[in-house]
């Protein structure tokens, strides 16, 4: 294994656009195995789009993006890069868990079925075994008692924890979080963050797009500030938050910090 393969994510000059609107203007970004990398930035800065590029939900139009040792979307064969088929995309995504801002639980399935769905339909795990595993994952996020409830019977925080369990059930090598607490009522945010902290402690490699500055400082190994489709700066969370190097970062941080935190930083 060479040095490059130890990087779970290695992006250099990644570009992406919706029609004429340039969303990513050459993003450089790396994540090593076991690291928690948090991404912050104003809305429209391209941070969510970049996260969605990591598992191929959005196409990379320029630059190079290697995830889990593969150039996302293409395979080098006979001196040319061949675009992936839907099947190759599917195989690639099996190893990457994703948690969405709006949970996106399967509405026609119970919590348990949501978690068992991936192993049964994608990995071909026998139903009994998948059910047992799903129960374990639900237990881990503290929802074993709610296994047979439908998504609409659960609170936002509970739904998001089921969504995390659903992603974990695939035994991923990398977890992506797309503003996982942004759609939650304030009192439900902590239960989701606690689950994520637990994952980080266990050594899961995570990329987290978030507005939770306190979470980024406490849990993140790296903090990256996005603006206008590029990485403005990247550093250790405590250093970057205490001493931002760019005016844009300072302006953003002062706008998102809540009064309590401003109190603390004085």
């Amino acid at each position: 294994m060479n040095a490059a393969d130890e990087q779970i994510v290695q992006a250099s000059g990644v570009r992406m656009s919706y029609g004429d609107v340039q969303v990513l203007n050459g993003v450089d970004f790396t994540v090593a195995s076991g690291e928690v990398s948090c991404i912050i930035g104003p809305s429209g800065s391209g941070k969510s789009t970049f996260l969605r590029c990591l598992n191929g939900l959005e196409p990379v139009l320029g630059g190079s993006l290697r995830v889990l040792g593969e150039e996302v979307g293409h395979t080098l064969r006979g001196g040319r890069y061949h675009p992936w088929t839907p099947k190759e995309f599917a195989a690639f995504r099996r190893n990457i868990g994703m948690v969405f801002q709006r949970f996106n639980l399967f509405a026609h399935h119970s919590a348990l079925e949501n978690v068992a769905c991936g192993p049964v339909h994608v990995l071909g795990t026998p139903a009994d075994r998948a059910r047992t595993l799903a129960m374990e994952h639900l237990d881990r996020v503290g929802l074993a008692d709610h296994a047979h409830k439908r998504p609409h019977q659960l609170s936002g925080g509970q739904q998001q924890r089921v969504a995390i369990a659903r992603a974990l059930a695939m035994n991923p090598a990398l977890m992506l979080f797309d503003e996982p607490t942004s759609a939650l009522d304030p009192e439900l945010v902590d239960e989701v963050l606690e689950v994520m902290k637990g994952l980080a402690v266990e050594g899961m490699t995570m990329v987290v797009v978030t507005h939770e500055i306190a979470f980024a400082r406490e849990v993140g190994d790296w903090l990256t500030f996005f603006a206008d489709g590029v990485v403005v700066e990247r550093g250790r969370p405590r250093e970057l938050l205490a001493n931002p190097g760019h005016q844009r970062t300072r302006a953003f941080l002062s706008s998102v910090r809540d009064p309590k935190e401003r109190e603390e930083s004085r």
Partner: protein, 302 residues
């Protein structure tokens, strides 16, 4: 409307006066009078032999016609539903050829009268005297005489089924598109292929939106089958018309046929109510488990 008395300052209840809706009473009386007169004109009509209506209501050929009508309705609806789902999926495909063909199919079958389609299938033998199904470049296969295959019954089933498929495809497409895009993204993120996502995640949810209107399609089909009489499909309308052509009791037999159509519609409406209660479109029903999805896709229940 207020029913409890209003109390004054000293707590004494003062009753509320009754309102007389004179306009409503007048409109009701006029409407009833007109309806009664029309009913009287029919019932007391000296040219209408009600005894014959009763006589033919359970006539052997009428009963067999009712049965054939039910058969054609069920088979044509089933064909329409299955083909409709297929056309809808083709219509939504990224492949421009498949999508284009599906659009053409929908346009063609919605653009031509169902009567024309029925007569076309019935007379298919003029174009193809023999129907051959064989493996290309070999002699292995089967051959039928078109006139024997395209009876009134099969051409009715084909014509009505293919026609319904075109309409139903649009219903299915709307149902599929009504399923939240987030469901598709979550399915992809789990590593599902587009086909698996459609079968396991999107279609089961779309079905719950699609199923209630299929009751309407079936009820409408029950009566559209009456067009089958142009190709002599031995359905209710065909048999009724053959009887009245022989004995000239046109009105009496039309009433007999109508009574049966109304009965079938009433039964179908009742069943549709049950279906809607089971697959009702409100959100709570939408996500309730068990149901059709679990039976069609036992794996989905995990």
């Amino acid at each position: 409307m207020r029913t409890e008395p209003i109390t004054d300052a000293s707590g004494r209840p003062i009753p509320v006066a009754r309102t007389w809706h004179w306009g409503r009473w007048l409109a009701a009386v006029v409407a009833l009078a007109v309806a009664a007169r029309l009913a009287y004109l029919m019932v007391a009509n000296p040219n209408l032999e009600w005894g014959k209506v009763a006589e033919y209501l359970f006539h052997e050929r009428i009963l067999s016609g009712v049965w054939v009508t039910i058969e054609i309705s069920v088979l044509a609806t089933a064909l329409g539903l299955v083909l409709g789902v297929l056309v809808a999926i083709m219509r939504l495909a990224h492949n421009p050829v498949l999508s284009g063909l599906a659009s053409f199919y929908i346009w063609f079958f919605r653009g031509t009268p169902v009567l024309v389609q029925l007569i076309f299938w019935y007379n298919l033998a003029f174009l193809f005297p023999e129907l051959v199904l064989k493996i290309p470049f070999t002699m292995i296969g089967v051959k039928w005489d078109t006139n024997q295959v395209m009876t009134g019954f099969t051409s009715a089933m084909l014509g009505l089924g293919l026609n319904l498929a075109a309409y139903f495809a649009e219903t299915v497409r709307a149902g599929i598109q009504a399923v939240d895009q987030g469901q598709t993204e979550a399915a992809y993120a789990l590593g599902m292929t587009p086909a698996k996502r459609m079968r396991v995640i999107v279609l089961p949810q779309a079905l719950r939106i699609i199923i209630p209107p299929t009751g309407n399609e079936f009820i409408s089909m029950l009566k559209t089958t009456s067009l089958v009489y142009v190709v002599a499909g031995h359905d209710l309308m065909t048999n009724a018309s053959q009887i009245y052509k022989a004995n000239n009791l046109i009105m009496e037999l039309l009433i007999v046929a109508s009574l049966w159509y109304m009965l079938m519609t009433a039964v179908a409406t009742f069943l549709q109510g049950r279906l809607e209660r089971r697959f009702g479109s409100e959100a709570v029903r939408l996500v309730r488990g068990g149901g059709l999805a679990a039976r069609i896709l036992p794996k989905a229940a995990a």
